[in-house]
Amino acid sequence: MKAWKKIFGTAALAALLCIAVGCGPTEEAGQGSAKPIDGTPILFDETTDYYNIAPSVVEEGNVRYIFYAVNATAGQTDTAIAVRRAEKSGDNWSYGDKKVIVQTSESGWDSAHIANPDVIKGTFGYNGETYSWLMAYQGNGTDAENNYSIGLAAAKDPLGEWVKIGNDAVIKYDSAGYGTAFGIGEPSLVSYDKAGKVYLFHTMGDMYTTGVYVAELDCTDLGAIKGASVSNAVTNFGLTDPGAAVPTFSDTNFKLDETSGTLYCVRNYSTAAMAPVLPTAVQVIKMPMADLYAVNAEWEEVETQINDLDLSTDTLDGWERVYSACIVGDGYGRVDGAEALELALTVTSFDRQTYEYRFYQAITGYTVELDG
């Protein structure tokens, strides 16, 4: 059971990495056809020249910023990180043009692949400058899609310029000590003090298992970050995966309701048994923030699964592959006093013959009502 779990977990993570960094045959550049829509509307139009994955959405008043992974070059698999700005019009958000803000480095820890951005506000000093936005993202320096680490970038404005912090990852995966595996990635930032201290949640997958961990970073001085050497395990008690003795807790996004002291999380749930082997749903869970480090902490389900049934329309059956979601929060990773949680989810259609899906990936939205 353990060996299968390891293989299965690794395969699922590898599949998501394929999403992030692209693998397999590329489509011809310039095809420019509209993405096929299987369910709820996508947040912004995009052609099949580009894949859109792993959103992170920050709302400030009537403005939203969506950070996500996208290929920098049409039809290629050179994943970069982009941002779009949206303004609210009535009940809808209208997203503007894409701007690529972070790309792979020429060399070093993030020279091969980058993906999965998450962004918060705060006060961060670096090399004599003060930045008010911080991004965490995953990257690696080898062609293989494994052994990821997490690094940081900072900006004074969400639209850039984004400055990478240092020449190395801040949360580094030690493949010699933990085996070649997914590594450390899928970061999620929540501000601790609305200044320079942050919680950095992340997935760690090693040769034995996969789980979610949290590092407490003092990024007041990004040139001397404190706390990066210790990551604490986030409990997976209270989670159940169909058919699994131990749940796979990964690809998460966290938000804090400081008024109620509740920590919310959205995670991948229920991977498909057939190609494409991607999650078919995400799950929303919650826990008292005060229990984060308690030995017997347990998650409580808010929404067991959000799947194709939830992401269908009157005329469309719904997105069959749903994953890499985020909870929309304010600049500090807060959802204070929320009566509902708005999610942005990665969804994809796929070719029924070849099961190709890469360039069909898009981002849609969903709202989870919270009880009382």
């Binding site: 353990k2 030690d174 010699a176 000590g177 933990y178 085996g179 601790y192 201290k197 090693d206 040769m207 034995y208 298992t209 789980g211 961990y213 590092a215 407490e216 970073l217 003092d218 404190k226 706390g227 050497s229 210790v230 990551s231 604490n232 395990a233 409990t235 997976n236 008690f237 003795a245 131990v246 480090y293 030995v295 017997n296 902490a297």
Partner: protein
């Protein structure tokens, strides 16, 4: 569980303080040793008796054993001895050296045939201890030989010999050809036949058949055997019967044909109270066969609470004193594995005995009561273990002795450090002392090595002195085998008292280049009603959850960390510090049948560290300061330092008299 330390200490005191202590503390049930046994050292001879699937003789003998594959198989086997000296003129009696080593009486008929081809069967048989004596002859047919070591005596007068075949009427004493022994297949027989001595009317004697000079065949002083099913010695005969030639004191195993034959045993008779002895001594010659010998010993307590608790000198991590026969210096060697070619005396202390009950996961109380033991001391060899290929050896002068080297058997004293009751600080004298207490469970497939090392910790509260280094062994190549390597420790009542505790803690240093992990398990001794008004005690196993949460406290950096199990409690490469696992993070393996929640009022009797050799072969770590902790601790992180941190708990002045918080 180790030998009851109170009994061992009492014996040690007796040995050191001699008569005065003896008079002061001698229990009433002590059996005095043979001879003048007012003062130690004590010893008592162990007479070998009974064997199972193994040949053993106290004299030069032909060993005849039958064990029919089919119950109550009809038929018989006949062993024919052709006399070396055939002229029995003026013979008045014949004495046949015989020893019954079966578990029960054996059936036989004895026929004497002369050169004229007439077969005679004695009517009466006399069982005597010496040639030239008489006991109480009585008629028997067939002859029943009870557990016996002596001579069968037959009167050779015409009145005592019945013709059963041929044309003669009286035995032609001038030319006695053969003597035959007939054994029936409807029971198991295991008999040693030795020299045949003839007594003449004038009282003189001669040896008509000498086993030591015999060989297979039909000629003078030779032997053969065949059975009524058509088998002959060396062929199908051996499916149901076997004739082997042994020298005196030789043990020879049968070829292992089935799983039932794997362990082949012989037994010695011992007193029911062996409390005045503390070891087993025997002379052994492992030069007559090939290879090292794996030679297990087992002592059983009398039945208690429905269980006959077995105590084995088990595995390859027990030690004994070797006294070479050539007068060389004595040395410490393995208590079970006798090197090829060793000749001399080996003394195995009772402190090497480890409990293993008659059923899996069931023990009695883990305390060896030497005052009430089964009167058979069992010896066994594993005939399917090709690492130790010796299948025949000489053994004699088996005794129970006092003064057997205890190899320190240092009991780990319980101490209090912060909010922790340290139950094992690894204050052992040497590797023998350590491996006498921490055992590698050899019955699982993968192996491990343990060694006593200097603790690498510097200025760490509760850590220092000595520690245990564990190295995970190699996985077995047997398909589908359990690949776990297991190190276990049996706790005494004080060590196993975790009443009111919150969880288990230990100090560890990962000296490997990668993360290492193991399952931490323990047995809680539960009283179970048996339904007839009585109760028994059973071990209820608990193991760390696959995704357990546990805390680390790095004693070099001061950092604390919450970890998640990965089907084991995993430690990062290079980490050194304390681990705490709350008892809520344990569950029962699915094979446990003893139900109920973990009740810490029940004693914890065994702890286990179990590694998977598939992933950890060659990985090594240092383990120390095992204990139970008594307060809840909160994690210290970058953003918070709670008052009840891990570090604070280790340096606290916890009042154990008030119980857990």
């Amino acid at each position: 569980m180790r030998v009851n330390q109170r009994i061992a200490l009492a014996l040690a005191a007796l040995f050191v303080a001699a008569v005065l202590v003896l008079v002061a503390v001698q229990p009433a049930k002590v059996v005095r040793a043979q001879g003048d046994a007012e003062t130690p050292p004590y010893e008592v001879a162990v007479e070998m008796r009974e064997s199972r699937y193994i040949d053993y003789a106290t004299f030069d003998a032909l060993s005849v054993s039958t064990h029919a594959a089919t119950e109550n198989l009809s038929g018989d086997v006949t062993v024919t001895l052709t006399m070396g000296v055939r002229d029995w003129t003026d013979a008045s009696a014949v004495y046949i050296r015989m020893e019954n080593v079966a578990m029960a009486a054996t059936l036989a008929n004895v026929n004497i045939a002369d050169a004229a081809g007439t077969f005679f069967r004695p009517k009466a048989v006399d069982f005597v201890k010496e040639v030239g004596t008489t006991s109480s002859p009585a008629e028997q047919e067939p002859m029943i030989i009870n557990i016996w070591n002596g001579y069968l005596k037959f009167d050779l007068s015409a009145e005592n010999l019945k013709v059963i075949g041929g044309s003669g009427t009286e035995l032609l004493k001038s030319d006695v050809a053969v003597i035959q022994f007939v054994f029936y297949y409807n029971q198991t027989n295991n008999v040693n036949i030795g020299d045949i001595v003839v007594e003449k009317e004038d009282g003189t004697t001669f040896t008509a058949f000498s086993v030591s000079e015999a060989a297979i065949g039909g000629g003078a002083n030779q032997y053969n055997a065949n059975d009524s099913l058509g088998g002959v010695l060396g062929s199908t005969l051996e499916a149901n019967a076997r004739v082997a030639q042994l020298q005196a004191d030789e043990v020879k195993s049968h070829d292992a044909g089935t799983a039932a034959d794997q362990w082949q045993q012989f037994y010695g008779i011992i007193p029911g109270d062996v409390s005045m002895y503390d070891g087993i001594s025997y002379y052994i010659d492992n030069s007559i066969g090939e290879g090292a010998l794996f030679f297990n010993k087992c002592l059983r307590e009398n039945e208690k609470n429905g269980v006959m608790e077995h105590w084995f000198v088990d595995g390859t991590a027990s030690y004994a004193t070797y006294y070479p026969a050539d007068g060389g210096e004595s040395y410490v060697g393995n208590a079970n594995v006798v090197p090829e070619g060793f000749v001399g005396t080996i003394v195995v202390p009772f402190s090497d005995l480890q409990t293993r009950s008659t059923a899996p996961a069931t023990i009695d109380d883990g305390v060896l009561d030497l005052t009430s033991v089964w009167t058979r001391l069992e010896f066994a060899i594993d005939t399917q273990n090709n690492d130790y290929p010796a299948r025949s050896f000489i053994i004699k002068d088996i005794k129970l002795v006092s003064g057997a080297q205890q190899y320190y058997n240092t009991t780990q004293e319980v101490s209090e450090v912060g909010d922790v009751r340290m139950v094992n600080s690894f204050n052992y004298m040497d590797d023998y002392d350590l491996t006498g207490d921490w055992n590698i469970q050899w019955s699982l497939s993968a192996e491990a090595e343990i060694a006593l090392v200097d603790s690498p910790a510097e200025d760490v509260v509760g850590v220092g002195g000595k520690a245990m280094q564990i190295t995970c062994g190699q996985r077995t190549s047997v398909a589908d085998a359990n690949q776990d390597a297991c190190i276990q420790w049996s706790l005494n009542s004080e060590q196993g008292n975790a009443t009111g505790a919150k969880g288990v803690t230990y100090w560890i240093k990962n000296t490997s280049y990668s993360q290492i992990g193991f399952r931490f398990e323990f047995d809680s001794l539960v009283t179970v009603a048996t339904g007839d008004g009585s109760s028994t005690q059973e071990a209820q196993r608990w193991q760390s959850l696959p995704n357990c949460r546990y805390m680390l406290f790095d004693t070099k950096t001061g950092a604390e960390r919450m970890m998640m199990g990965k089907s084991g409690v995993y430690i990062p490469a290079g980490f050194e510090g304390y681990v705490r696992i709350d008892f809520s993070q344990f569950t029962n393996p699915n094979w446990v049948t003893v139900g109920g929640d973990l009740d810490l009022n029940n004693p914890i009797v065994t702890t286990y560290l179990i590694m998977n050799s598939t992933y950890h072969y060659g990985d090594s770590f240092i383990f120390d300061s095992l204990g139970w902790y008594y307060t809840d601790v909160d994690l210290t992180t970058t953003f918070r330092t709670p008052a009840n941190s891990f570090a604070a708990a280790m340096n606290s002045d916890y009042d154990f008299t008030k119980g857990g918080n």
